[in-house]
């Protein structure tokens, strides 16, 4: 009755706001999610991404704004009347029902009598054939996660909402499920809205990523576009790491924007600068920051900063260096262990250099200092080409 037959359409959020008392969880959000896309809402906990999802599901009433599915405003509909299903973070499988009945739950509530064939097909899709008569408690976390997915997908919703569905799984299983989810999404062609705080998960799975911060969307786009050219300092540091130097933009010269930082002059291509005048952040990703032992090793056209290696962490695929500049900031640089260069010892005087085409210029509030992220325990996404 719902789902397949209704003309589907894009999911649009218009001026969506949710306040809890004085706290604004979602702040005037406007967003279009094209039909059939895999959309990720990425943000730290408390940024409003789960609240946004719950408003789409109908589990939370928006303070104001619209949730449009196609041409229909579903913001006023009760959750059980929406052609939308959710895979919950906790899975929320019904412990008193076996797997078969868990998966059949939505069909039965809509008055469909013959459910066995559909349930079997759905269990096959999530590779759980033969598990129908077990109870949720008898399955592992990964299996429960797939039951939760099957239970939602069997209803052919117009939009499938995923609320950090992989959060409880261990790393290896999470990788497998990421690939699995992507495969299933391609197969069934349903719009997936995936909420996650895991930047890698968002980047590997989604066509479009929206980075949320404090109830607002900071940037929206394809994962590679956001990574290569972030819009704000928050995005630059939330999605991967960045070396952000406090700089002053000094206007355009031909196709470049001229930048002064810590007494040195640099340039950024105009297409990679978010501003042309005033305070800005000059940013370079750690894997695009190369180290040479002295100015002679710097290739032509590269821009450079001198410094001293203060830390070298060998993490297998790469070595992560910290380089202290003359003004005290520590830059991060990742060097691929491709066997071409030697390891640099701590204390070595080096020149950090980069191709200006890899730099970017972001807006900065006056008075903000350099932002250089500390080394992470695991190599961050995109650390290697």
């Amino acid at each position: 009755m719902k789902g397949q037959q209704t003309p589907a359409g894009d999911l649009r959020l218009v001026d969506l706001t949710k306040r809890f008392g004085v706290f604004t969880a979602v702040d005037d959000l406007t967003l279009t999610i094209p039909q059939g896309s895999f959309f990720a809402l990425l943000g730290a906990s408390g940024c409003g991404k789960t609240t946004t999802l719950r408003m789409i599901a109908g589990l939370e009433q928006p303070t104001s704004g619209q949730v449009l599915l196609g041409e229909q405003d579903i913001a006023g509909l009760r959750p059980y009347k929406r052609p939308v299903n959710t895979v919950f973070q906790s899975y929320a499988l019904f412990p008193h029902l076996d797997i078969h009945e868990n998966v059949a739950f939505g069909l039965r509530r809509r008055g469909i009598r013959k459910v066995s064939d559909q349930v079997e097909r759905m269990l096959a899709l999530v590779q759980l054939e033969g598990y129908g008569r077990r109870r949720p408690a008898q399955l592992s976390g990964g299996q429960q996660q797939r039951v939760a997915l099957a239970r939602a997908l069997i209803n052919h919703p117009q939009v499938l909402l995923l609320d950090e569905p992989l959060g409880a799984l261990d790393l290896k299983l999470r990788r497998q499920m990421q690939i699995e989810l992507k495969r299933i999404q391609t197969e069934v062609g349903i719009t997936f809205v995936h909420v996650t705080h895991d930047q890698e998960e968002a980047m590997t799975m989604a066509d479009t990523v929206a980075v949320m911060n404090a109830g607002r969307i900071e940037q929206l786009g394809a994962p590679a576009d956001i990574y290569e050219y972030p819009a704000t300092a928050f995005v630059a540091n939330f999605l991967g790491q960045s070396n952000l130097l406090a700089a002053e933009a000094g206007g355009r010269a031909a196709d470049d924007v001229l930048v002064t930082a810590h007494g040195a002059r640099f340039s950024v291509p105009a297409g990679r600068a978010r501003l042309t005048d005033g305070p800005g952040f000059l940013g370079v990703r750690p894997e695009k920051l190369h180290l040479a032992e002295g100015p002679d090793g710097v290739p032509a056209g590269h821009q450079h900063i001198g410094g001293v290696v203060t830390d070298a962490s060998y993490v297998g695929v790469s070595t992560q260096y910290l380089v202290r500049t003359a003004w005290g900031s520590e830059l991060t640089a990742f060097a691929a262990n491709s066997g071409l260069g030697g390891q640099l010892a701590v204390g070595t005087a080096v020149t950090a250099h980069w191709d200006p085409r890899h730099a970017f210029l972001l807006p900065r509030a006056a008075g903000e200092d350099d932002q250089t992220t500390p080394l992470l325990d695991e190599p961050p996404v995109g650390a290697l080409p």
């Binding site: 059980y80 919950f88 929320a92 499988l93 939505g106 509530r109 497998q176």
Partner: protein, 302 residues
């Protein structure tokens, strides 16, 4: 992926711990000993005593002494004489149970799921009447339901009762007394069950096209079954055997089987009959409980 999916879930079970020797093996029995001894002396032995008393010669008396004549006819005779009180007991406690469920389930649900920071206070309110004696509480009901009381006056004014209508000394009073006195025994186990109910399951049900009513029938009710079963048993068993409510709030026309047993032992001193009635009551309750548990079919309770 599929290979991983088919690994049996028991594969990761740790090996059973090595068998303990000596005193450690006796420990469970030592721990059982005090309770078992208590049950033997104060439950099993009196039960045997009662069973044999129920088969004494009904012609005996305290002064002439009782002879063991294996008088099985005591049972049909007792049932013959007191079947109205017998059926009344089950009828009254069944009606009281229905009333208690209608009040107790919403109450337990509200305390468990909706009360927030008032939860503990409400729980105390449920239990607080237990701080006074059963007898005092029932006597208080006598005042509440009395002919000159405000309640009867109000009911007469709105013509729910006739001008001479009364509540005290009617079946209604006895049923109300039973409902009130045993309500906490129903509410507390129900509360314990409903308190464990994950509200996210209700969100999931709602997300999967279940209206609030369907979500209740398909999720809340089945998950509260253990508490519901335990609560109904804890309510029904003592309510059926109760004699205080009928004694204080009713007349001999409302007497239940408990009153008959009470009088057989303490007034008429007809021990064989009292013992036979006790066993009949016990058997009837056991039969009902057995059928109920079989039909409700939960392994969580027993």
């Amino acid at each position: 992926m599929s290979a991983l999916a088919h690994v049996p879930t028991s594969a990761g079970k740790p090996a059973p711990p090595p068998v303990r020797r000596g005193r450690n093996r006796l420990l469970p029995y030592l721990l059982l000993l005090p309770g078992a001894a208590w049950l033997l002396v104060f439950f099993a032995l009196p039960l045997v005593q009662l069973a044999s008393a129920s088969l004494y010669d009904p012609a005996g008396s305290l002064s002439t002494g009782y002879a063991m004549t294996w008088a099985f006819s005591n049972y049909p005779d007792a049932l013959q004489a007191y079947w109205p009180q017998f059926s009344r007991s089950f009828l009254y406690s069944a009606i009281a149970l229905v009333l208690a469920l209608l009040m107790g389930y919403p109450l337990a649900y509200a305390i468990a799921q909706k009360a927030g920071r008032w939860k503990n206070l409400l729980l105390v309110a449920v239990v607080a009447p237990m701080f006074t004696s059963f007898l005092v509480r029932t006597l208080a009901w006598k005042t509440i339901l009395s002919d000159n009381g405000a309640l009867v006056g109000l009911l007469r004014d709105v013509h729910l009762l006739g001008p001479d209508g009364r509540l005290l000394a009617t079946p209604i009073a006895v049923v109300l007394g039973l409902t009130y006195n045993f309500l906490p025994f129903l509410v507390l186990p129900l509360y314990a069950s409903l308190e464990r109910l994950d509200p996210r399951l209700l969100e999931a049900a709602s997300d999967l096209y279940a209206s609030p009513l369907r979500a209740f029938a398909k999720v809340t009710l089945p998950l509260s079954m253990p508490g519901l079963i335990a609560g109904t048993l804890l309510f029904f068993i003592p309510a059926t055997g109760d004699y205080i409510n009928a004694e204080l709030l009713g007349t001999p026309n409302e007497y239940m089987i408990g009153n008959v047993i009470d009088s057989a032992f303490l007034v008429r001193l007809d021990y064989p009959q009292g013992a036979a009635l006790s066993f009949l009551l016990m058997a009837a309750i056991l039969a009902i409980v057995f059928v109920y548990l079989r039909r409700a079919g939960t392994e969580e309770v027993l």
